[in-house]
C-alpha cells in the first residue's frame, strides 16, 4: 500500500494513532517521515497539522540538526505534505516565506489555512498588499467560522490597509443590534468587505438598542450618517406569544415596528435599510398545528415577513434568514447554549453563510455584483473532450449521472442568463469542434446564441479573458471564471486577481452549489434591462461585425435606424435610473452616486432639469441607457450646471452623447438659460469623458491639478449638434 500513487489517504486521527507509539524525538521524526512518504501527492490539512503537532511535541528531545536534515529531505521530495511541514516548522519569520510559496504552488488546489499562514509571514515582512491578497483568497474559498475568524484577526494585524488594496467603493455601514449580539458577526462582516473591495467605515450599535438609536435625531447613529443600516433582527425580536388572538394585527404590529424605524431613518437622511426577514422559532408548543393555525407564532412571523416584503424595494431590503437556516440545516442553525451564555444567534456555524448573504446585498447596492460568467467547455459544460471523442462521445444528459449533472449545470446557467448574467466561452479547442455540441447535440440546453462571446482557440486563457473584457467593454472585476482544470484556475488567479475563480469539485453534480455559495451575481431588483442585457450585448457584437462590413461610420450609424426616447425622471423608471447612476463608471462625467429617493427629490425640484434616455435600433431595444440632470448654478440666477451625465457602455460610439446634449440645449433655449456649466470630476475609470465637454463646444474656464475642470457655454450661441438618432416624440410622456 506504500507504493500506490498518488498516495494513501491519511486523516488527523490516523496520524495521532501512528505517532502515539513513538515518544522520543528521533523515532518520532522517522515515523513522521514514513507517513509523509506514504501520503505521496495527496494532502489533508488536518492530517498535516497533526504531523506538525507530532514534531512540535518532541522538539525538546530532537537534536536541531536532525530536524534540519529532515526538513531538507522533505523540501527535496517536494510533496505537498512535506512542504507544508517545512513551512510550518521553519518558524514564522521571513525565512518561512519561500517555504509557503513552495507549498502553495505544489498544493492540489487552494488551501485557505496555508494562505493565512503566508499572509502572517508577509505582514511581518512588511509585504502588506500581498498579505491582503492571500487573506482575500482564503476568505473566498474558506467557509468555516474558525477560518474566517482567523482571517479577520490576520487583517487586524495590519496597522492600516495599504492604499493599493483598499476597497474601491467607500461605504458607511451601521450595524445595529436587536436581542442577538453582533459581537461575532461584525468582525466577519468587516473581513468580507475587505475581501470584496468595499472600503467600509463601521458604526456598531449598542446591544438591543436599535429602536432608540434610530429614533434619536442627535445620537451617534444620526451623527455617523450611514449609507446603509443593517438591522439583524430574528424571531425573538418580534416578541410574539405562541398564539396571537388577532393574527393580522399582530403581524401588522411587527412589520410596523420595522417600517416606522425605516421611515424615521429616511426622514433624517437618505440611506438604505437592510433588515433580516424573520426566521422561525425552533420550538412550537402548537406542534404540527403551528403552521396551520393562523395565530401560531410561525404563521404570524411569515405574515409579517410578507407585509415587509411588500414594502421592500425602494431603500428597504430584506435578507431571508430562513434561507440561511435551510442552507446550514436547522439543527446547526441555532445553538441555545450560546444564546443563553452570550446572546449569540444564529450559531457560529451559520455566520459565514449569513455574512455571505449580507455582503452580497451590499455589493449589489454598490453596483459591485459580477456580470459575466466565462466558461470552459470540456469537463466543465460536458463530460469528456469533444475534440477527441466527438459530439457523440461526450457526456451530456441521460443516461449517465455525470451527463445529467452537466445538463443541469446548463439549465442553471441558462436561468442566470435569463436574469441578465452574460455567458461567455473560453476554451482551448478547435473552434469548429467547440461549437458542434451546441449546434448538434440532441440534449444541449445552451445554444451558441446564449453566449455573448465564444473564444475557442489555443491562446492562453488570460489573453482570452482580456479580449473578452475588451469586446464587452466591461471590467475584469465583473468576471467569474469557471474551469474544471486547477492549473488554468491557478494561472488566472495569479495573473488576474480581480477575476473571481471558484474552486470546482471533481463531481459535476456539485458544480452548482460550489459556485452558488459565493452569490456572485446578486441582483438588487430585477429590471427589464437586466433581462435584456444579454440580447443587447449580443447585438453589440453583431453590430461590431456590421461596423466592419459597412463603409463609413456615418453610413453605419444611419443603417442602425436608431430611435431615442427621453423624458424627466418618473416613478416607473426610477429603479433603473438609480441602478445606472450607481453602477456606471466609465462614461460618467461626475460619478455622483444617488439613492432612488434622492433622485426622486431632484425630479420633484422645479429648479432642476432631469432626463432619462432610451435607445433602440433595428437590432435591439437597449432600454434606458442614459441619465442627465442639471441643477441651478449657485450665485448666477438663471444659469444651470450639469450635475450628472452618464451613459451605459452598451451604447458607446453611437453618438448618443450628442443626442443627450441636444436635448439639454433644446431645454436651455426654451427656458432661456443664459449659460450652461459642466464639471468633469476625474475617477480611476472615467478618463474617457475628460475631454467630452470641450469636444462638444464647451469652453474650459477652470482647471485643477487633479484633472478636475469646469466648462461653460452659451446655449443661444451654439448650433444644435446633428445626430443620426431620431426622436420618438409622440410617445414621450413628460414627468408629471
Amino acid at each position: 500500500m506504500n507504493d500506490t500513487a498518488p498516495g494513501a489517504a491519511l486523516r488527523a486521527a490516523d496520524v495521532e494513532a501512528a505517532l502515539a507509539l513513538t515518544a522520543d524525538g528521533p523515532a518520532r521524526l522517522e515515523a513522521v517521515s514514513r507517513l509523509v512518504e506514504r501520503v505521496g501527492r495527496r494532502f489533508d490539512a488536518g492530517a498535516a497539522e497533526a504531523l506538525v503537532d507530532g514534531i512540535e511535541l518532541v522538539r525538546g528531545s530532537l537534536p536541531p540538526e536532525a530536524l534540519s536534515e529532515g526538513l531538507d529531505a522533505w523540501a527535496r521530495a517536494a510533496t505537498p505534505t512535506g512542504l507544508y511541514l517545512v513551512a510550518r516548522l521553519r518558524g514564522t519569520g521571513a525565512e518561512a516565506g519561500p517555504a509557503w510559496d513552495a507549498f502553495l504552488s505544489a498544493a492540489p488546489g487552494v488551501v485557505p489555512e496555508a494562505l493565512l499562514h503566508r499572509a502572517r509571514v508577509r505582514i511581518k515582512a512588511g509585504r502588506a498588499s500581498e498579505a491582503v491578497a492571500d487573506v482575500r483568497l482564503a476568505l473566498h474559498e474558506g467557509a468555516a467560522y474558525e477560518l474566517w475568524s482567523r482571517a479577520e484577526k490576520t487583517l487586524r494585524r495590519l496597522r492600516e490597509m495599504p492604499e493599493d488594496v483598499r476597497g474601491s467603493r467607500a461605504l458607511r455601514l451601521a450595524v445595529l443590534s436587536g436581542q442577538a449580539s453582533t459581537a461575532l458577526l461584525v468582525p466577519l462582516l468587516r473581513a468580507a468587505c475587505v475581501r470584496d473591495g468595499i472600503d467600509v467605515t463601521l458604526h456598531v450599535g449598542e446591544y438591543d438598542a436599535w429602536q432608540s438609536e434610530i429614533l434619536d435625531p442627535a445620537g451617534e447613529l444620526a451623527r455617523f450618517e450611514p449609507d446603509v443600516v443593517l438591522l439583524p433582527l430574528h424571531w425573538r425580536d418580534a416578541a410574539l406569544p405562541p398564539t396571537s388572538p388577532d393574527p393580522e394585527a399582530a403581524a401588522r404590529d411587527v412589520a410596523d415596528r420595522v417600517q416606522n424605524a425605516f421611515a424615521a431613518l429616511r426622514a433624517r437622511r437618505e440611506c438604505t435599510l437592510v433588515v433580516h426577514a424573520f426566521d422561525l422559532p425552533p420550538d412550537e408548543p402548537l406542534g404540527h398545528l403551528a403552521a396551520a393555525s393562523p395565530g401560531g407564532r410561525a404563521a404570524v412571523l411569515r405574515r409579517a415577513n410578507e407585509l415587509l416584503r411588500r414594502e421592500a424595494g425602494t431603500g428597504l431590503h430584506l435578507l431571508d434568514l430562513e434561507q440561511v437556516a435551510a442552507e446550514v440545516g436547522r439543527a446547526r442553525y441555532e445553538d441555545p447554549r450560546r444564546w443563553y451564555a452570550a446572546r449569540q444567534h444564529p450559531a457560529a456555524t451559520a455566520l459565514v453563510p449569513l455574512v455571505e448573504r449580507q455582503v452580497a446585498l451590499l455589493r449589489a447596492l454598490l453596483g459591485l455584483s459580477r456580470k459575466v460568467a466565462v466558461l470552459d467547455l470540456d469537463n466543465t459544460l460536458w463530460g469528456g473532450v469533444v475534440g477527441e471523442e466527438g459530439v457523440e462521445g461526450i457526456q451530456l444528459g441521460a443516461p449517465s449521472a455525470a451527463g445529467e449533472s452537466f445538463l443541469d449545470f446548463h439549465r442553471w446557467l441558462r436561468e442566470w442568463k435569463e436574469r441578465g448574467v452574460l455567458l461567455a466561452v473560453c476554451s482551448k479547442n478547435n473552434e469548429a469542434d467547440a461549437r458542434e455540441p451546441f449546434e448538434k447535440h440532441p440534449e444541449t440546453v445552451l445554444r451558441l446564441d446564449d453566449f455573448v462571446v465564444f473564444k475557442a482557440n489555443w491562446q492562453d486563457k488570460v489573453s482570452n479573458l482580456r479580449e473578452i473584457a475588451d469586446e464587452l467593454s466591461l471590467g475584469l472585476d465583473s468576471f467569474v471564471f469557471v474551469d474544471d482544470n486547477p492549473v488554468e484556475r491557478a494561472w488566472v488567479r495569479e495573473q488576474l486577481p480581480m477575476v473571481a475563480v471558484p474552486e470546482l469539485p471533481e463531481d459535476p453534480a456539485l458544480y452548482v452549489p460550489a459556485i452558488e455559495r459565493h452569490r456572485y451575481f446578486e441582483p438588487i431588483a430585477l429590471s427589464d434591462e437586466d433581462r435584456q442585457r444579454h440580447e443587447s450585448y449580443r447585438a453589440e457584437v453583431e453590430r461590431g461585425r456590421l461596423r466592419e462590413s459597412s463603409g463609413s461610420l456615418e453610413d453605419f450609424l444611419d443603417g442602425l435606424a436608431m430611435v431615442a426616447r427621453d423624458a424627466g425622471f418618473d416613478a416607473p423608471n426610477l429603479p433603473r435610473i438609480a441602478q445606472l447612476v450607481n453602477k456606471t463608471n466609465q462614461f460618467n462625467l461626475t460619478t455622483r452616486r444617488y439613492t432612488e429617493a434622492q433622485l426622486r427629490e431632484q425630479a420633484e425640484d422645479p429648479a432642476w432639469w432631469t432626463r432619462w434616455f432610451r435607445l433602440r435600433d433595428r437590432f435591439r431595444d437597449t432600454g434606458l441607457i442614459g441619465v442627465m440632470s442639471c441643477k441651478p448654478r449657485e450665485g448666477e440666477p438663471g444659469a444651470l450646471e450639469i450635475d450628472q451625465w452618464l451613459m451605459s457602455c452598451r451604447v458607446l460610439g453611437r453618438q448618443m452623447e450628442r443626442y443627450m446634449l441636444r436635448a439639454l440645449l433644446l431645454h436651455c433655449r426654451e427656458a432661456g438659460v443664459p449659460r450652461l456649466y459642466g464639471r468633469y470630476l476625474p475617477t480611476a475609470k472615467n478618463a474617457q469623458v475628460a475631454e467630452l465637454l470641450p469636444a462638444l463646444g464647451f469652453e474650459r474656464i477652470e482647471a485643477q491639478d487633479g484633472g478636475e475642470a469646469l466648462f461653460a457655454l452659451e446655449p443661444a450661441s451654439i448650433d444644435l449638434p446633428d445626430v443620426p438618432i431620431r426622436r420618438e416624440a409622440d410617445e414621450v410622456g413628460e414627468a408629471s
Binding site: L19, A20, L57, E146, R150, R338, A341, Q344
Partner: protein, 81 residues
C-alpha cells in the same frame, strides 16, 4: 496524543491572536485579552479541539487554566502526556 497543555496553548494563541503566548503556571495570573467575547470564542474552540460539548455551567467555571483542565479531564481528556 498531544499533551493537554500543548493543545491549550494552541487554542489560546489562536483565539487571542498571540503567536508567542505562554500559559502562566500561576493560576491567579491574568491572561491578557481574555475578556467575555474571547471567552465565547475560547469555549467554541475548546469544544472543537477536544471534540467535547460543554454545558454553560461548565463554561462559566472555566475561568482559569487549572479550571479548564479540570473540566476537560471530567470529559475524559487526558491531562498528562
Amino acid at each position: 496524543m498531544a499533551s493537554l497543555r500543548f493543545r491549550l496553548t494552541k487554542v489560546f494563541r489562536e483565539v487571542l491572536d498571540e503567536d508567542d503566548l505562554v500559559l502562566p503556571e500561576d493560576p491567579t495570573e491574568e491572561i491578557e485579552g481574555w475578556d467575555s467575547l474571547a471567552h465565547v470564542e475560547l469555549m467554541m474552540a475548546l469544544e472543537s479541539e477536544f471534540d467535547v460539548a460543554l454545558t454553560n455551567e461548565e463554561t462559566a467555571e472555566m475561568t482559569s487554566i487549572p479550571a479548564i483542565e479540570q473540566v476537560l479531564s471530567g470529559h475524559g481528556v487526558e491531562v498528562g502526556g
